[in-house]
């Protein structure tokens, strides 16, 4: 009886909820900030920014100094961590690329988007555990976006994010456990993630209210596309070298280069 009632009540309440949202919420939620005067009036709620006028910010994070050594992670005591890979895992705290750039820098728009908000996209971001190392080491999410956590190791891990703005949790993942789907509802740069079983395992998750971020890879470059024209504060975050900020103004369809230099 109860179950059959629930059965039709769920779609009904969902419909009511959607109607309420669609009718009650003005487009101001998507674009209403004084900082974005040239944004197109939101014809479609999902696309407040006109792609025809969108700007791009590119750049790289140069590293000035001697690249710090990357010691091997001492995980020999746990064969389950090493048996699937012949290559020794190295400490990922500071990785300087061959072209003297810095990897794993989280570059994002810190200010300038006003109170625009962006609904979380449907696609998930994956955090994998392979060889008792997090892949990737640094990742970005939009608030509310799904994070799929996998355990590809034949050993137990615990996933323990330590946020300041979001809810802290700690979950076990035995070998072969089903993927864990989680999300962080509030913006926060950065959330450290740790495994207490393997003290060397660390990852960092940046949660933003918008999709304008990039993480430097093997060439130390980044690209932030689809920005509405305007003035922005761009911040580069690195787990060892801290943060740096730059101001940049982009016009319609403009592409600008913003280069950071991190001193080692």
């Amino acid at each position: 009886m109860i179950r059959s009632k629930l059965f039709w009540m769920v779609p009904l309440s969902l419909t009511l909820g959607l109607l309420g949202c669609g009718g009650g919420q003005p487009p101001a939620e998507q674009s209403g900030g004084a900082a974005a005067p040239s944004a197109t009036p939101a014809a479609a709620p999902a696309a407040p920014i006109d792609p025809a006028t969108a700007a791009t910010i590119t750049g790289k994070v140069a590293f000035d100094g001697t690249a710090p050594a990357r010691p091997r992670i001492r995980m020999d005591a746990v064969p389950a961590c090493t048996q699937r890979s012949s290559e020794a895992a190295l400490v990922e705290e500071a990785i300087v690329n061959d072209n003297k750039t810095l990897r794993n820098v989280f570059v994002y728009v810190k200010e300038g988007l006003g109170d625009r908000s962006f609904p979380p996209p449907a696609e998930e971001v994956v955090l994998d555990q392979q060889g008792c190392v997090y892949h990737p080491h640094v990742l970005g999410l939009i608030a509310g976006q799904k994070l799929r956590i996998k355990n590809g190791d034949p050993t137990n891990h615990n996933i323990h994010p330590m946020p300041a703005q979001n809810r802290e949790w700690n979950t076990s993942m035995p070998p072969g456990a089903a993927d864990l789907i989680q999300e962080f509802p509030r913006a926060e740069v950065m959330i450290p993630v740790k495994c207490n079983v393997h003290p060397w395992m660390k990852a960092y998750v940046g949660v933003l209210r918008h999709p304008f971020f990039a993480i430097t890879g093997a060439d130390g470059s980044f690209e932030i596309k689809g920005l509405p024209p305007g003035s922005y504060t761009i911040e580069a975050w690195h787990e060892k070298y801290g943060t740096q900020q730059m101001q940049v103004t982009v016009g319609e369809k403009e592409s600008k280069q913003v280069d950071f230099t991190v001193k080692g």
């Binding site: 746990v78 615990n158 323990h160 076990s172 207490n196 079983v197 003290p199």
Partner: protein, 306 residues
């Protein structure tokens, strides 16, 4: 109570429980040192089983739980034994207090895991651990032949204010352990632990000095007080070493084995120091109290000759 076979066995069993408790304290210190407190996210089961694979941080956290379970069983049996064979009601009551403490301690331990190490709960868990160790040690003392001998006032009793001084030293040591726990879990800085080390060290040193100068050479209390002095010296050395090793390895994120072992030794020696000071206090009190009746008559000539 006389020193029959049963009570002697009970006394030895209480010592065994106290020894297991000291091991448990060290295991707990290792969990903190290796930052393994959350390596097992669930409680009371570990990864949904009683026996997860003991790798990495799980070894420390689950090992701590297994030793804790053993101490819980040992304590329960000790209390049952006391209620069955012990004639003194206050000793039975003390046993019950120890049992309640060990249950409360297990619950606090579970809360640290389930609420992901809330600092007040973690510090309370550390302080209750020391309290429980003191309770078990007291049970071992009051079931001992030494406790009986102290009541017979066979030896010259210490001056009445000696036990006050020893009690003050014990209280100061307990405060020092709480300050150490607060330092370790970053609720307080090094300052209070460092300053109070001077106060507690001075009081303990004074206890040793008075025992050595005022008591007869063959007196057991004097010997115990000399042990107290030795443990104090070791504890100060471990405290300084723990600080020095921490300073040297600053900036390294992963737990360093040297620091973890020295800090754990510092914690265990602190428990021993507190326990030893408590034994001195209780024995001194017992002898002063036993001699007190005699002393009060002697000090009141009218009554003595009445």
């Amino acid at each position: 109570m006389n020193s029959s076979g049963v009570s002697r066995a009970l006394h030895h069993y209480a010592i065994l429980t106290a020894g297991a408790t000291l091991l448990l304290l060290m295991a707990g210190a290792l969990v903190v040192g290796y930052e393994a407190g959350l390596a097992v996210p669930d409680w009371p089961l570990s990864y949904g089983t009683w026996m997860p694979p003991l790798v990495g941080g799980i070894l420390y956290e689950h090992g701590h739980r297994m030793i804790a379970g053993t101490v819980g069983v040992l304590t329960t049996a000790l209390v049952i034994w006391l209620w069955w064979k012990e004639p003194r009601r206050w000793v039975k009551a003390l046993g019950l207090v120890a049992w309640v403490a060990v249950v409360a301690q297990a619950i606090l331990g579970g809360l640290t895991v389930l609420y992901r190490l809330p600092v007040p709960v973690v510090i309370a868990h550390g302080c209750l651990a020391q309290t429980f160790f003191c309770l078990v040690l007291s049970l071992a003392l009051v079931t001992s032949p030494a406790w009986e001998r102290a009541a017979q006032a066979a030896e010259e009793p210490p001056a009445p204010d000696f036990w006050h001084l020893a009690a003050a030293a014990t209280a100061a040591l307990f405060i020092q352990l709480a300050l150490g726990a607060a330092l370790r879990h970053k609720a307080l800085g090094l300052g209070p632990h460092w300053v109070w080390a001077g106060v507690a060290g001075f009081l303990v040193g004074w206890v040793c000095y008075r025992a050595v100068t005022e008591l007869a050479v063959q007196d057991g209390l004097r010997k115990l007080a000399r042990w107290l002095g030795g443990i104090l010296a070791l504890q100060v050395a471990l405290g300084v070493a723990s600080y020095a090793f921490r300073a040297v390895t600053q900036g390294i994120h992963e737990p360093q084995t040297s620091v973890v072992l020295i800090t754990s030794a510092h914690l265990a020696t602190g428990a021993l120091l507190l326990g030893c000071s408590l034994l001195v206090t209780l024995l001194a009190y017992r002898r002063v109290a036993a001699a007190g009746k005699v002393a009060s008559f002697a000090g009141d000539p009218q009554r003595t000759f009445a």
